[in-house]
């Protein structure tokens, strides 16, 4: 049987290691320049420091019930700490809360630029022929198309040029002075 003093020494070492990790995180929190690098410093003791300190408890009071409870703590912390770090990091990146001159490589920037380019292409190509029946009823896109159509009724000179052909069958008012439309009406 291992004497209790060995457990005490081992748990003391683990506690000091965990406390040193917290100290390093505190220094990083004070000294680092932007939110993302501060987060990098602060998330180290969230998992590893906690593992060390919980191992110290498990060595000090080594019963099955205590160790099971500590495992629950560790599992929950390991499940939730990446979520909160991810959310905070994403919010920090989107708000520009980082110093770009200190980045070696920014892979997310390329991805964002590519996505923005694709979005612009999609908007340009789909702008001409949007079918209202494809859009969800009451959505912002459907309302925008509807607004375009209503404005087009009032504006006679430009309403017919850029709209889909179905507008004719909806019984929109036709103008005698519209030469393009007038030619087909006469037949």
């Amino acid at each position: 049987m291992i004497p209790q003093s060995v457990y005490d020494i081992a748990s003391s070492v683990l506690l000091i290691a965990g406390a040193l990790l917290s100290l390093a995180a505190g220094i990083g929190l004070l000294r680092f320049p932007d939110a993302l690098s501060r987060m990098h410093a602060a998330t180290k003791p969230q998992i590893f420091g906690l593992i060390l300190v919980l191992a110290a408890i498990a060595l000090d009071q080594h019963t099955v019930g205590t160790i099971a409870s500590l495992l629950v703590v560790l599992v929950f912390q390991m499940l939730t700490a990446p979520i909160s770090a991810h959310m905070i990091g994403r919010a920090g990146y989107r708000n520009g809360d980082l110093r770009r001159d200190q980045l070696v490589v920014d892979e997310l920037d390329e991805a964002v630029a590519r996505a923005a380019g694709e979005l612009a292409e999609t908007v340009e190509s789909d702008d001409a022929d949007i079918d209202v029946t494809d859009l969800p009823v009451g959505s912002a896109d459907a309302l925008a198309v509807e607004m375009d159509r209503v404005e087009g009724v009032g504006d006679h000179s430009t309403a017919d040029g850029d709209g889909p052909v179905e507008r004719d069958s909806e019984g929109l008012p036709r103008q005698a002075g519209d030469d393009r439309r007038g030619g087909s009406d006469g037949l």
Partner: protein
Amino acid sequence: MIVVEYVVGALFAFAGLASVIRIVRGPSILDRMIASDMLLTTLICVLAADMVFSGHTRTIPVIIVLALSAVFGSITVARYVSRQDPS
């Protein structure tokens, strides 16, 4: 063992103090949120160290609840801060 208590106490006290300073000074709300997360982690570690030094396990439920509920504050603040529309 008493020396270890003082050393660990001083280190955790510095970590908590640094967190509080960053909460007070931090230029953006994200810095404050990161620092308050760090303060919560320090609190969990201090409770655990107290259990080791005093030889009891009474605060394990407190630690479980803290580890469970720590995530909500960060997620709420992050969703409040980030812009949803790139405009």
